[in-house]
């Protein structure tokens, strides 16, 4: 059982900044995220794109913002459960909550802050009738452990960064990599496209374009995929393989959180914005894009504000009746849980002759 003060669901910008604000109040945080990395949408959808409305940053790349937020909060030693989706929540007799992930990891905290953005990212599955049958029998939508493809024949479909990057990576591990895409053009970083071209020329990646996987063939496990190609003439043929990995991106779904008894409106969690962003269940807060209230704006900067107020309310729950005054970091510095201290340099007091 992982125990913490504030359990944050979602490791996007709002969740990461909440770690910093909680740390100033000497509260410890643990974050759960369905994605294998931190940053939420900022790292999953648009890491290389600039953001222009973060106060004080005229321009910052979404990926750099994520790195900066992690750097800013790291002395408060947040814990992470990544690549797992928060599935259930149970209120305990002492008022705390136990949140269990889809992999069975249990977390306990007196305060839960949902900073889940648009929800957890689920793979977009191609429209192939029998594909569900082959899931975990050779069809995978994520690559979790590349070693499982060692000396196997792999078919990857998709035309974006992840299809390109995994084709490159697996070409050194798998016995055969076939990349199938609906067009001849790929959308990705220029060097990834060039690298795939090079590996294709060397015969290390089989490229089938413009084509589409339309069926999966096998008996209890994937034996082949049926490919429809429309180059000059339309034709269909089988490509023998052990694994079929469709990489068509991820789409966010509110998911199991929708069944936690929270008041939901327009795919978002209703909170009290006059006070502290608490939901209809005391002790559970919702901050950032995942919440809604009159006048709500889904902006990162609004998430930062919401995270800050949520931490104050969490302090009251965790330390009932205990006095607290707001402190400015410039005055008080930042005392990390790891023993580090940041502080403003002392002024020099010296006579001038």
């Amino acid at each position: 059982m992982i125990k913490t003060d504030i359990l944050i669901i979602g490791a996007g910008p709002t969740g990461l900044f909440a770690v910093f604000e909680a740390g100033l109040l000497k509260l410890k945080c643990h974050l759960i995220d369905a994605l294998p990395q931190i940053g939420g949408q900022c790292s999953e959808i648009y890491p290389k794109k600039p953001i222009y409305d973060i106060p004080g940053f005229p321009e910052v790349l979404a990926g750099d913002l994520t790195d900066n937020l992690m750097e800013q909060c790291k002395q408060f030693e947040p814990g992470f459960t990544l690549g797992e989706r928060a599935e259930t929540i149970e209120k305990q007799e002492d008022g705390s909550f136990i949140v269990t992930t889809n992999k069975g990891t249990k977390h306990q905290a007196p305060v839960v802050a949902i900073a889940g953005g648009l929800g957890s990212f689920e793979p977009r599955k191609p429209l192939i009738d029998n594909i569900a049958y082959f899931e975990d029998k050779g069809v995978e939508y994520f690559i979790k452990d590349p070693e499982m493809y060692r000396n196997k024949r792999v078919v990857i479909s998709g035309g974006g960064d992840s299809a390109l990057d995994w084709s490159i990576y697996l070409s050194n591990i798998a016995s055969k990599v076939t990349l199938i895409h609906r067009r001849n053009e790929f959308r990705g970083a220029l060097d990834s496209v060039d690298k795939v071209q090079e590996l294709k020329n060397q015969g290390k990646i089989d490229l089938i374009t413009p084509a589409e996987v339309i069926n999966v063939v096998g008996d209890h496990k994937v034996d082949a995929v049926v490919v429809a190609q429309s180059k000059n003439i339309e034709r269909e043929f089988e490509v023998e393989c052990d694994h079929f990995i469709p990489l068509f991106g991820l789409s966010p779904k509110l998911g199991p959180i929708a069944n936690w008894g929270l008041e939901i409106e327009k795919n978002a969690i209703v909170v009290n914005n006059a006070l502290d962003y608490q939901t209809n269940i005391p002790g559970i807060f919702a901050i950032g894009d995942v919440n809604t209230y009159p006048g709500k704006l889904k902006l990162i900067l609004c998430g930062f504000h919401e995270a800050t107020l949520m931490c104050q309310a969490a302090y009251q729950i965790i330390n009932p009746g205990k006095k607290y005054v707001l402190k400015y970091t410039t005055v008080s510095g930042v005392n990390g849980f790891d023993g580090t201290r940041k502080e403003a340099p002392k002024q020099v007091v010296k006579a001038i002759d």
């Binding site: 949408q41 959808i45 648009y46 794109k49 648009l118 929800g119 977009r124 191609p126 429209l127 998709g158 035309g159 974006g160 895409h181 609906r182 067009r183 053009e185 790929f186 959308r187 068509f248 991106g249 789409s251 966010p252 509110l254 327009k266 795919n267 978002a268």
Partner: protein, 110 residues
């Protein structure tokens, strides 16, 4: 408002909506759909309008002249599902006075 144009949008349930869209607010078609709440929040405009998610895919039914498709829109549509010859990404269609009478149908959620 004289800058407004009339657009017909069929939502994912097949209901036809006739809406007014401003041409002077730098709005795109995806944003028009969201402002009238013709698709549930979180199911359209997921990437915010960067041609990176295809959640705003629509089928253009009228023969209205539209801006030509750019590379990123074309690439995204080549990875999307339920794509037809008349598919476009709503986020890449800026509303202009020339689009008076545009008719579109929202593609299924995927």
């Amino acid at each position: 408002m004289e800058q407004d144009i009339t657009i017909k949008i069929t939502d994912r349930e097949g209901v036809l909506h006739t809406v007014l869209a401003p041409t002077d607010m730098a709005m795109n078609l995806m944003e028009v759909v969201r402002s009238y709440e013709l698709a549930p929040e979180g199911t359209i405009g997921v990437c915010g309008g960067m041609a990176m998610c295809a959640s705003c895919q629509c089928y253009v039914v009228s023969d209205t002249e539209l801006p030509e498709m750019q590379d990123d829109e074309e690439a995204m549509l080549s990875e999307a599902f339920y794509v037809k010859d008349n598919s476009r990404l709503g986020c890449q269609i800026q509303i202009t006075p020339e689009m008076e009478g545009l008719e579109v149908e929202l593609a299924p959620e995927s």
